[in-house]
């Protein structure tokens, strides 16, 4: 089975995933911009039992306007987010920021969400992608 490794910048916090992601998406919302520091966020999700985590992490919980909670796990040494879950993992999934992968080029977005917040100089173009405002 395919196996992939995500890690923080300094390398001490790692997530190893097996199998293919169940969802690949980009999000343009302001929370995702703040979390990443970028113009949008990109992430892939796996069933939690296909993710093995190694190393020390700090976590930060963000409650959205809708009341959904997301908990982000980041390396206390370099600050990189390596994984997050929603509502204490109620959906059984773990999301991994695309850039954390040692090889991030497997990714093809299926969903591009919160496009009402998308920057004018950016386009997400892929045959497979569904766009949501």
């Amino acid at each position: 089975m395919t196996s992939r490794t995500a890690s923080c910048r300094c390398g001490q916090l790692k997530a190893n995933v097996t199998g293919e992601p169940v969802r690949m998406s980009v999000c343009h919302c302001l929370n995702c911009q703040k979390r990443s520091g970028s113009a949008f966020a990109a992430q892939a999700r796996w069933p939690a039992d296909q993710v093995v985590i190694e190393g020390r992490s700090s976590s930060f919980e963000l409650i959205s306007d809708s009341g959904n909670r997301a908990r982000f796990y980041f390396c206390p040494e370099c600050g990189s987010d390596v994984l997050y879950d929603n509502n204490d993992g109620a959906d059984g999934q773990i999301a991994i920021p695309l850039g954390a992968f040692d090889d991030p080029y497997f990714f093809e977005p299926q969903f591009s969400v919160w496009e009402q917040r998308k920057h004018g100089w950016l386009e997400i173009e892929s045959e497979a992608v569904e766009h949501f405002d």
Binding site: S38, A39, C78, G79, G99, W121
Partner: protein, 117 residues
């Protein structure tokens, strides 16, 4: 807090920027150091590039967000990740660099943008 217009707004597709942001590219605006005022606690992480240049990233120890960084190619400037700005929307960006690492599903639009491999 940054005052005035940034001197440079850019996106970067390199792998180090992808790791830092967790996104498929990074976006940042740079100001002269004297235009930037910093408040609050930060932790630092220093990255040494293959060229030997060092960049110091300052992130919040509570939530992990990088709020500013400096050094590297532009030692006289302070860089602020676009997403960290309360209003991250600039009309256009000046540079798109490391495009050899660009994901093929991303397009960076704008006539005045300088693209570099």
């Amino acid at each position: 807090m940054a005052e005035g217009d940034p001197v440079r707004v850019s996106v970067c597709h390199c792998l180090a920027c992808q790791k830092r942001t967790g996104s498929a590219l990074s976006a940042q605006a740079r100001w002269e150091a004297e235009c930037v005022k910093v408040e609050g606690n930060s932790s630092q992480w220093v990255r040494t590039a293959d060229s030997g240049q060092q960049t110091t990233y300052n992130f919040c120890p509570v939530c992990g967000s990088t709020v500013y960084y400096g050094g590297g190619n532009f030692p006289e400037l302070v860089a602020i990740p676009l997403g960290a700005l309360d209003d991250p929307y600039f009309e256009c960006i000046d540079y798109s660099v490391w495009e050899r690492r660009k994901h093929r599903w991303i397009e960076i639009l704008g006539e005045s943008i300088e693209h570099r491999d």
